[in-house]
């Protein structure tokens, strides 16, 4: 189960462990079902406890970014660990101004 908080129209999702193709499927469904029902102004993805991520995680981030844009909200990414920054920066996501 996903660890989340919702306050002041900000839905924060505390991601953890390894994000790959196997784990991102469930993450996608759970995050989307929460954003669809709560309609937050901001979806905040907290990467503090993420130990590993590959390009499936980039797909997950880009997909949620699109999803939030469709719902008229914003997305941001916080607490990106050093070793995961390298794969994220390869994608150019930082140019969207979502990494805080």
């Amino acid at each position: 189960m996903l660890n989340t908080t919702y306050e002041n129209k900000v839905l924060t999702v505390f991601l953890s462990g390894e994000i790959d193709q196997h784990t991102s499927k469930n993450l996608r469904m759970e995050i989307d079902s929460q954003t669809e029902s709560l309609r937050p102004e901001t979806l905040c993805l907290d990467f503090d406890n993420v130990k590993f991520m590959d390009s499936s995680g980039i797909g997950l981030i880009m997909g949620r970014f699109r999803q939030m844009s469709l719902l008229g909200g914003r997305m941001k990414i916080v607490n990106l660990p050093e070793n995961i920054k390298r794969v994220v920066y390869l994608s150019g996501i930082q140019t969207l101004g979502v990494i805080k």
Partner: protein, 147 residues
């Protein structure tokens, strides 16, 4: 070139085995005492190649994935990741950043990650026969002090 150590595994194309493949590969290279960054680079590249076998090669159907690892002279690590799936019709195009046949949820960055995290990436493929990705990386071994 001298090969100092080798390993081989094969496993079914189930997505749960992406993590399994990463663990095996990191255990194998730990003997070279890589830095955390080197370990992350190699784990990530292997994860990309294995995921591609599952998602694209076998298109989520049952198949077998093969990994061969080698440690060669001068701390050169070589991993071959192979599937007997549908193959890649145009390798050059497939390797372009952002190219994907995987739809909305894929970034099309797997090969870009492999190329940026490894020293060299070789891809050979035959339509209907399968794909082999070979990854090369030299471990600088900054952690290691010569005895």
């Amino acid at each position: 070139m001298n090969t100092l150590n080798t390993m081989e595994i094969k496993f079914p194309s189930k997505s749960i085995n992406e993590g399994f493949a990463r663990s095996v590969v990191s255990s194998f290279i730990l003997q070279l005492d890589p830095t955390i960054n080197e370990l992350t680079d190699i784990k990530t590249a292997v994860s990309e190649a294995v995921t591609n076998c599952i998602v694209h090669g076998y298109e989520d159907n049952a198949g077998i994935i093969y990994i061969k690892g080698e440690i060669r002279e001068d701390n050169l690590i070589v991993f071959k990741i192979r599937d007997k799936g549908k193959g890649i019709p145009d390798i050059k195009k497939a390797m372009e950043p952002l190219f994907t046949t995987g739809g909305e949820e894929r970034a099309g960055l797997g090969f870009a990650v492999m190329e940026s995290f490894m020293d060299k990436v070789k891809v050979s493929s035959k339509e209907g026969k399968g794909t082999t990705v070979t990854l090369y990386k030299k471990i600088i071994r900054t952690n290691y002090e010569k005895p």
